[in-house]
Symmetry: C2
Subunit: 374 residues, 2 copies
């Protein structure tokens, strides 16, 4: 297939695979698509190791990274920032999470002392932390940097231009797209409300043509609700130059999501996700579980903003994940992860390369089928 995306990135299949597992990223690229590593939770050292590993696997084929790069560049010690943020988490919220964990038999530990687990990630989105991650990324043979946190700073756009690295941005509404285009991005990803993770309210069917109309010559990928060749063909019909898939890889054999979460995904219906602020502070789609029921109960506190809610929740989630892994029943009731409405289509896990091949083949079949309708 040939689209503006295959031309821009030099790939065979206009399909971007977004995932935090280096194995998935490498396999998407090796199968003819374009793998993008969700790198926000890596330290610079970890990122360096992972990108080196990916490059050994892909042998010159193109891939990219996804970071949270803030538009404003304040200066300061990340440790000070973390301490200052931590002090802003109300005692009521800490007590609520402690009580929630205890009710489900998960050891809350000494939550009041820390949330240490989330500190790395906060450092990663603090300006100095991001610069270190960007330095690592640009020292590798990347073809694309994606940023989901507002418009990229001019320094990133310039850096991308110089290095021949495309800068991509995820958008959920028209105004965001206009801001991203003003900032000079090379590629827009129109992400519909059905997507996993942070999403807006507008569905892919409506959002994609709206963003394509605004974007002019800038290529637009469709994201949200795309896990099959039929859905990829639909996205191309809407004017997208390709698709950005996230959730589908969570059911691949290379994905690092814990096996008991994957099993929950496999039995979930498309109606079993919820767009909730309880995990990061911003609306993000995830599998509905007892965790969300607890936060929605009358008397529960309102979720905090980002990054406070993320700091509050992330340490709790590490404890929940560990307890669920160890077989604790209550923890498994709470267990969840970011996933889109396509979770309802998950069956047995498949190798990533096979998923790419099947999506591409079905997409071509669907297009041929449409042609025969005329």
């Amino acid at each position: 297939m040939r689209t503006a995306l295959t031309d821009m990135l030099g790939v065979d299949v206009p399909l971007v695979g977004f995932n935090r597992s280096p194995g998935v990223v490498a396999e998407v690229t090796r199968a003819g698509g374009f793998g993008v590593l969700a790198a926000t939770s890596y330290s610079p050292e970890e990122l360096d190791v992972q990108l080196t590993w990916i490059e050994e696997r892909v042998q010159g084929r193109p891939y990219g990274v996804d970071l949270l790069v803030p538009a404003t560049t304040t200066v300061g010690d990340p440790a000070d920032l973390v301490a200052s943020l931590r002090a802003q988490i109300p005692a009521e919220h800490i007590e609520f999470v402690r009580g929630l964990l205890e009710r489900y038999g998960v050891d809350p530990g000494d939550l009041s002392r820390g949330f240490g687990a989330a500190d790395d990630q906060v450092e990663g989105i603090a300006p100095t932390g991001v610069e270190a991650l960007l330095d690592v990324a640009f020292s590798h043979d990347i073809s694309l940097v994606a940023n989901a946190l507002g418009p990229p700073p001019p320094s990133l756009v310039e850096r991308g231009r110089k290095a021949g690295v495309a800068v991509a941005a995820l958008v959920g509404r028209a105004e965001h797209a206009l801001r991203q285009l003003d900032a000079g991005v090379d590629l827009l990803v129109a992400q519909g409300t059905e997507a996993g993770g942070h999403t807006g309210t507008v569905a892919t069917m409506v959002l994609t043509p709206e963003i394509v109309h605004i974007a002019g010559d800038t290529p637009v990928l469709a994201a949200g609700g795309i896990a099959s060749g039929a859905q990829m063909a639909a996205a191309l019909a809407l004017g997208a130059a390709g698709v950005w898939c996230g959730s589908v890889w969570l059911n691949s054999v290379e994905d690092i999501t814990p096996v008991h979460v994957k099993r929950k995904f496999q039995t979930a219906a498309s109606t079993d996700t919820v767009r909730s602020r309880t995990r990061t502070g911003k609306p993000a789609r995830q599998l509905r579980s007892a965790w969300h029921d607890e936060w929605e109960r009358p008397g529960s506190p309102e979720p905090l903003g980002m990054p406070l809610q993320m700091m509050l929740a992330k340490d709790a989630w590490q404890r929940i994940d560990a307890a669920a892994e160890a077989g604790a029943e209550g923890a498994r009731e709470l267990e969840s992860f970011f996933v889109g409405q396509v979770v309802g289509s998950f069956e047995e896990p498949r190798p990533t390369a096979r998923i790419v091949a099947e999506i591409a083949a079905e997409c071509e079949e669907r297009i041929a089928g449409l042609w025969r309708m005329l």
Copy 2:
């Protein structure tokens, strides 16, 4: 174009146009699509007049009607049912709506006495009322009866079989589709969350292939987010045999929606709708306005169920519509109507026939464009 829908209904374009304006219904059919009259708010006498008018316009071309037919057939006097329901509306809710209208300068009238305006509609969904409407519909040359209120009763399916009238059902999730198939419907409409009116939570991009997979040989139409040929091509790529469009006609010249509501639609963005229970008691997508802000304010009552909330709201909405028509500023702030997220694409109103022709032409262009990508 040729699909299972064009074969089943004998139309040129696999596009169903759903609207309460007889003029829109007739024009969709005359333009080669299939018009369906939203007939729930008509009395039997009115319906008879409207269907006679439509038939004069379409001259033998096929069209259908949409009713709310309950699956259970209790017997009783509709007047008793209305009185019994009216008595169940809490005084708190009546006072809240009265206060709301007064704050926006709309005369609430004597709300405590009646909600008379809604009585016709309640009679229309009471079993005896529906039977009278069905008798009228089957005395005309209809080709399809659609039902949005759960599975059709066996009597309706049988009546449809005998008369050669297809029975269609709108579904928003897989379980509903299974129940409709068990009841023997001839056509399923998979309606995504982005649609106007009553909707579920799953987006068209995800719901359509899910329902197509379940439906086997039963044709499936996609609804929600479809107002252009690009979106129609996308729906066909997802496996739909055609599309069911509602919102797009609200911006046609034949549509009977008041002109000041249409103007609000034309300036609205795709993010300006809300899925709210405040108008009918069930989640229905509509244009967000001051009405919804008032119901969401802390201290406002929870919306009632259906049909109580519909009875409570409908009389208020007749007063709001009338006051807005007369130019009252406050009423125009409250003013709203059911519409999907495609409202963001509304520009100048076009004749219905031109909308059908443009959708069909763009759909074919998009399919040809996809073919060239291969």
